[in-house]
């Protein structure tokens, strides 16, 4: 395949050309309630060409028919030439990479029968349904894929990558009269068949939680001290800061550049944040990004100060910084844009526990698990799966509908304690941006305390 791409590349008349071809083998087994919804095997393939000429913009072509590759190289060049630019686009220099990078398949999912996958997810689904008659509906999804990705560009980079992925998710819906609650478990790994066994207990727990939430009151709205558990703290850093650190938000906007000046203080000295696409075995991990740049650990906040941001080659050149290996595309249907990989809040003092964060809180909220999060840059939301009130330094009654309303400039700066109990959240799902969803990412964090944040709800 590399030879085929190299040959197509030679025909390009553009100043810069890159070609990405993907072949993805995937299978999925889905249960809804007691019923099997689908069990399918799919094969998807296609290509992507991007061309750039001096004084012109990007020309892009994506296609499912690989026979069209040579023609598409020509189309991308034409499209680039149709876009006249006064201020040229330049790409930051990178060292051309030539490599075959196959991630460990950890039990190749392609060799396992659909019947075996069905048996596995049926057991997890059954664990949720067995919890209580109040569990009226479930959804349980097993999904895996192995994608082969070939990438070449006209600067000499030629890469072949093999990327496995497996995810298991379960939703339990509990109902009593008019009250309906849900519990959600989601596991996503850049691994294979060997890594998804023995998880029944986790599915039982989320179904039980959905049942427990039927009796929990809604949290009362207002500003509280809030302790985030590891999972929600991970979602928090992704939404609160991760998206702001993506340089495509600032590189064309002078006011945004000023707002995000390196060296600006965003938090107290306890706060350290980074993004590490090279971390081993995580869902956001890749040896190279979709521009062929090696991934790395990029510090973003160091002791409360902004020290870095995430780049593609274009944004790095525009800001005079170095590419960080964060140009990613969800598939051959899309151009690479600046994205996170594995984003984390570094652990605080070793040995500092959740109890240390809670013990001097008189009235607060312990917000746990994550249903999701979304950002509008300055303002963002993140939704806990459940919560507990904190009363006089102790975790008290369960509450539901805990949605936190964050503000970039206030919330980060109000993080005053960080525990030492760091974990990566190996969640499924993914991140959405610019019409590209779901992108596999991971977040990691210890327990984190925010002195004060707005919790939505009845007042």
């Amino acid at each position: 395949m590399k030879d085929r791409l190299a040959a197509a590349l030679k025909t390009s008349r553009a100043d810069y050309t890159e070609i990405r071809v993907e072949r993805t083998w995937s299978s999925a087994v889905t249960f809804r309630g007691r019923r099997l919804e689908t069990a399918t095997v799919s094969e998807d393939q296609g290509g992507f060409v991007r061309a750039l000429n001096r004084g012109c913009g990007w020309g892009i072509a994506s296609f499912t028919s690989l026979d069209a590759l040579p023609a598409m190289v020509g189309r991308a060049n034409q499209l680039s030439r149709a876009v006249r630019l006064d201020k040229p686009i330049s790409l930051a220099e990178t060292v051309p990479q030539v490599a075959d990078a196959a991630l460990d398949l950890d039990g190749d999912v392609r060799g396992i029968s659909l019947a075996e996958k069905k048996k596995l997810i049926e057991a997890y689904n059954g664990a949720m349904l067995a919890v209580s008659d109040a569990v009226v509906d479930t959804s349980a999804i097993y999904r895996d894929e192995v994608s082969e990705v070939w990438y070449v560009n006209s600067e000499g980079t030629a890469l072949a990558q093999l990327r496995p992925e497996v995810s298991i998710s379960g939703t339990a819906i509990a109902r009593r009269d008019g009250t309906i609650e849900k519990g959600l478990e989601s596991i996503g790994l850049r691994k294979g068949w060997r890594s998804v066994h023995g998880l029944e207990e986790r599915f039982r727990i989320v179904a039980q939680r959905a049942v427990d939430l039927l009796d929990a009151p809604r949290v009362q709205g207002g500003a509280y001290p809030v302790i985030l558990d590891n999972e929600l703290a991970g979602v928090f850093v992704h939404e609160a800061f991760g998206h702001l650190s993506e340089a495509d938000f600032v590189y064309e906007n002078p006011q945004a550049r000023e707002m995000m000046t390196l060296g600006r203080r965003f938090g107290k000295p306890v706060l350290n944040v980074g993004d590490n696409g090279a971390a081993s075995g995580l869902r956001g991990t890749l040896p190279y990004d979709d521009e062929g740049t090696p991934t790395q650990d990029t510090p973003l906040i160091k002791e409360g100060m902004l020290v870095g941001r995430l780049h593609s080659r274009e944004t790095a050149a525009a800001l005079g910084e170095r590419p960080t290996g964060n140009a990613r595309a969800i598939s051959f249907r899309h151009a690479p844009i600046v994205r996170m990989t594995n984003t984390y809040i570094a652990p605080g003092r070793a040995g500092a526990t959740r109890e240390d964060l809670i013990k001097d809180v008189k009235l607060g909220v312990y917000a746990c698990g994550a249903f999701g999060g979304q950002t509008m840059l300055e303002n963002f939301s993140f939704t806990a799966a459940w919560g507990h009130m904190i009363r006089d330094g102790h975790v008290a009654e369960m509450v539901k509908d805990v949605v936190l309303a964050g503000n970039l400039f206030q919330t980060l700066d109000r993080i005053d304690h960080i525990a030492g109990d760091f974990t990566w959240n190996q969640m499924g799902g993914g991140c959405g941006k610019g019409g590209q969803f779901p992108l596999p990412v991971t977040e990691g964090a210890p327990h984190v305390r925010i002195e004060e944040i707005l919790v939505g709800g009845d007042v």
């Binding site: 689908t38 994506s62 876009v83 006064d86 009226v136 609650e181 509008m376 939704t383 509908d401």
Partner: protein, 439 residues
């Protein structure tokens, strides 16, 4: 290809779809990218011994036998299902293909975008505009003899203004989505809609607190409509999780609320003559003057619910058909659905008697809570304070919460600013007694 495939598969239905998309993107007012996407694929569903299986491929010259074998293997694990493919029938007529959109050149699309960028340009504001034009062709068929197909065009124009002033980030977004290129009036409406929201947003005021009247704009309405969309889906009905399943014929909502799905709406962004399972398109009344009338079904959910498919099967290349709404019309039954008001009033004319309240245009995190239960709780993304009948400015750091099943029992009114937003038509909706929390 469909005929060949169906012959090989015995009891089956199939969809073939081809799409060519042209897109251009202006970043910070500058045209930076032009692109095309070409995609074609086949989705096959077979029934084998009363079990359903599916398979799909994007291969240019697919191995049809292998595809059938893959679908059969998928059926081996499947559950029993009494699924009857619909026989051939006459199809309603609805325009889906517009020459002007199909024939627009890249330069024409660029000129359209450039015009929009110039009209939206403001000192200190970043303007991003994207235009996407799609030309596609769909063919469906089944072994009961039904065949159907149609060409389609689609155009999406999105515009976004980002204004950063020291640490204040303001983002205002709007879109045009339709089968044809936008008319001069459509573009004017898009520009005015952004301007109308930009000017009062330049002043920041403190948010109110309490159980207050809140006007949800057509964009802000998403959090209110989403639980209803889930509850009115045949899928949640057969799963036993729809709060409306047992309430057909009941007055569940205020008499001013009607919800209709209309795949035949003239010029509707999701209009088409038949669905992806060969079921002819027809209007479906879901809620009529507050009374629950029915649900949307595809073939499978209809078979399981012992109901009839309403023609809401939608399939991609991979996976089985799923229920998808077409053009969803939300509002008062008597109101006409048509062209957007050229100069809509922010608040839809619903704020004159509000002493203290909010206009909510965008909420953050919609869809991430306990949607099926009807509860919502979201920080505001873009919202305005209303005091003594006037908009006094934009509020930040506030959150609204409530339960749509409680709130929709009594509606304070729909506004005069009905419009398409994607494939949903609605006007602003005022609900009284929505919880507003602030820091």
């Amino acid at each position: 290809m469909i005929d060949q495939l169906l012959k090989a598969a015995k009891c089956a239905d199939a969809l073939w779809r081809r799409e060519e998309r042209t897109s251009i993107a202006f970043e910070s007012g500058r045209l930076k990218t032009a692109g095309i996407t070409e995609e074609a694929g086949i989705n096959l569903r077979v029934m084998a011994e009363g079990r359903m299986g599916v398979a799909g491929t994007t291969a240019a010259t697919p191995d049809l036998e292998a595809l059938v074998a893959r679908a059969r293997a998928s059926a081996e694990l499947g559950e029993h299902l009494d699924l009857a493919f619909p026989p051939t029938s006459s199809l309603p007529s609805v325009p889906t293909f517009f020459d002007r959109a199909a024939n627009a050149s890249l330069d024409q699309l660029i000129a359209l975008g450039r015009g929009l960028v110039e009209r939206l340009a403001r000192e200190g504001c970043q303007v991003n505009v994207a235009i996407e034009r799609e030309v596609g062709e769909t063919a469906v068929g089944n072994t009961a003899g039904a065949r159907g197909g149609y060409p389609a065009t689609g155009v999406a124009v999105t515009a976004e203004i980002i204004r950063i002033a020291s640490d204040d980030v303001l983002m205002i977004y709007d879109q045009y989505v339709g089968g044809d290129l936008p008319s001069g009036g459509d573009l004017e409406a898009l520009v005015r809609s952004i301007e109308t929201r930009l000017e009062p947003a330049l002043t920041i005021v403190s948010p109110p607190e309490g159980a207050l009247p809140v006007v949800f704009t057509p964009a802000g309405l998403a959090a209110v409509v989403l639980p209803l969309e889930q509850a009115l889906s045949g899928k949640t009905v057969i799963q036993g999780s729809s709060p409306l399943a047992a309430r057909v014929g009941e007055q569940a909502f205020d008499t001013r609320l009607s919800i209709t799905d209309d795949p035949l709406a003239p010029g509707g962004p999701a209009s088409r003559p038949l669905d992806d399972e060969c079921v002819p398109s027809a209007r479906t009344a879901l809620v009529d003057r507050g009374i629950v009338r029915g649900f949307v079904y595809d073939l499978e959910t209809a078979a399981r619910a012992k109901a009839r498919s309403t023609g809401h099967g939608r399939r991609g290349v991979f996976g089985k058909p799923q229920i998808r709404y077409t053009n969803l019309i939300v509002g008062e039954a008597s109101r006409d659905v048509g062209a957007q008001h050229a100069a809509p009033l922010l608040g839809g004319g619903l704020i004159a008697d509000i002493t203290d309240g909010l206009i909510v245009d965008d909420l953050i995190g919609v869809g991430q809570g306990n949607v099926i239960g009807g509860g919502f709780s979201h920080p505001v993304g873009l919202a305005y304070r209303v005091q003594r009948g006037e908009i006094t400015g934009r509020v930040k750091d506030a959150a609204v919460a409530g339960n749509v099943y409680d709130l929709l029992k009594s509606i304070a009114g729909f506004g005069s600013d009905g419009r398409w937003l994607g494939s949903r038509w609605s006007a602003s909706l005022r609900l009284d007694g929505v919880s507003v929390a602030r820091r």
